[in-house]
Point group: C2
Chain length 324, copies 2
């Protein structure tokens, strides 16, 4: 996105400096590989942008920003193993290109390398960052565990689901922004407002992702419609239909989600039709708006200029994607 290229460039330059190929190659090559696959660098961008709008030299936040990007890549490697995913960003996943052991061990090393990046800071800042990082990282693990648990559970509530995406996705975005405010030595109140802004944006973002899977425009969403439906994933849409639908709809939905039919298109259409009749579109959009409003209220409370609020707002819009 226009305006954020300078952050991505700064991160990519630092990655080249820090993530180097060395012995044992079998450990460091997969790390170099996954980190070089790119991606939008959302988390480090949030860190640097936060530091920048707080009028602190954002280059000081680069090590913390990269720590979050390395952590994100660690979780991608291990999650891809757990999900048996063959592809990531259009390329082979690490365990697919190498093997299971390589995926486990290079993921472990990435997590440790992330911690090492905080060593660039003086003891007080180091401790504050490492504490936030550990707390967040543990929540991400818990979120991943809830996600796995939900697959085999018939008793997942909307509240459970929101807690899961809060842990699995949102807290890391909150921590990314808070890191930028820590570098800028801001007050606890300011740091927490940035944290909450990122966290609420993260929840809205994840709900939007669920929404677009069923109701997105293929060409602008960039993913095939119905991926979650075909993998029988209990998204916010599914849980909302289960809550609001009539008995016939719920039974039909459960039946459809216990099957893996040859006719993909038919299953997707049937599920979407139930979502529509159960009022899932309106309810989900309302929930997205609820978290977007929360994020905006956090944004308004930040001690930064209107121009900079607009900059953060625009980046949020960019993340929220291409529709709604």
């Amino acid at each position: 996105m226009k305006g954020s290229e300078k952050y991505i460039q700064a991160i990519n330059n630092f990655i080249e400096e820090v993530v180097i190929l060395k012995e044992p190659l079998q450990l460091y090559e997969p790390i170099h590989y996954i980190v070089s696959l790119g991606g939008k660098r959302v988390r480090p961008t949030l860190t640097l942008m936060t530091c920048d709008v707080l009028k602190e030299d954002y280059s000081k936040a680069i090590p913390a920003a990269l720590a979050l990007e390395l952590f994100h890549n660690f979780s991608l490697i291990h999650d891809d193993i757990m999900d048996r995913a063959p592809m990531r960003r259009g390329k082979d996943t690490v365990h697919e290109k190498w093997d299971l052991n390589t995926g486990i061990l290079s993921g472990d090393a990435l997590l440790i390398l992330a911690y090492q990046l905080f060593e660039k800071y003086p003891p007080n800042i180091f401790q504050e960052m490492a504490m936030l990082f550990s707390k967040t990282a543990l929540q991400v693990c818990e979120g991943q565990q809830y996600d796995i648990d939900f697959e085999s559970s018939d008793h997942v509530s909307l509240e459970d689901y929101l807690k899961m995406i809060n842990y699995k996705t949102a807290v890391l975005l909150g921590a990314a922004m808070k890191m930028g405010a820590i570098v800028a030595k801001e007050s606890d109140e300011c740091k927490n407002n940035f944290y909450e802004f990122g966290r609420n944006l993260g929840i809205a973002f994840q709900l939007q992702d669920d929404y677009l899977d069923a109701f997105g425009n293929t060409s602008s969403f960039g993913k095939q419609i119905g991926g979650d439906i075909l993998s029988n994933k209990k998204t916010f849409l599914y849980l909302m239909a289960e809550k609001n639908g009539n008995n016939n709809d719920i039974n039909e939905l459960k039946r459809l989600f216990s099957e893996a039919p040859d006719n993909h298109q038919q299953k997707i259409e049937k599920v979407i039709s139930i979502y529509k009749s159960a009022g899932v579109i309106e309810a989900t959009l309302e929930e997205i708006q609820k978290y977007t409003r929360k994020a905006n209220s956090n944004l308004q409370a930040l001690p930064i200029s209107e121009e900079d609020k607009n900059k953060l707002f625009t980046y949020g819009q960019y993340l929220m994607g291409r529709e709604v």
Copy 2:
């Protein structure tokens, strides 16, 4: 061992306080399980004993000691997956009792929990500990990778092997002792002498472990003789035979190590016979003594009483086991 029970008791009490069962249970139950399997608690004992002989209140070192024990258990969970090991300390391994995903994720969480324990210390100590911990943890990952690499390599030298066991086993024992000296706020020289004592002891210990696999007394060693031989593991003994043996011996050894015969006893006897004729017994004992001497020289340089030196020496003897 007599004299070290108080440290083990202190660690076990703190484990009960810190490692609790909470939601999501699927994440925290395996952690509780592996940590409760027991073991000799060698690493935390070294930390507490170091702090104690330096006349600092050893209870101050308990969080750091437990961090090392949690890290050790993290590496056991992930290594057991990589080694496809079904049993650990006479019980099912985590991935066997639960599944692969549980092993990966609960291992990840254990590593993060280990870092969190340093939060009990003020910023300067926190940073010094976390830096030592990250450096050591990364070396342990590298050691594990070298160990995996060596399995499929025909060009492993004795130097390569010593480097591998230094990283995989010894540096963590060194770090355990150094942590105790950090808590006691000792000089860099003193901290490094404790580190080197633990590290050299660790190398001697691992070589001893290799030695006892072939030449131990079953009843006192407590393991079946020849386990390494049957799993075709290129231990120090194998690599020494490959270096010092005559061509016939080397060829026969390579042939034996490419087979998995039904007659286990015969293979073990043949390999041991080659080890003997290639002078492996003398060469290995000499190497063990070399590292034991180094450790003792580090021990003598420590700024502690003769009585306390004797205490550390005795614990080292206990670790080195029941023979030689």
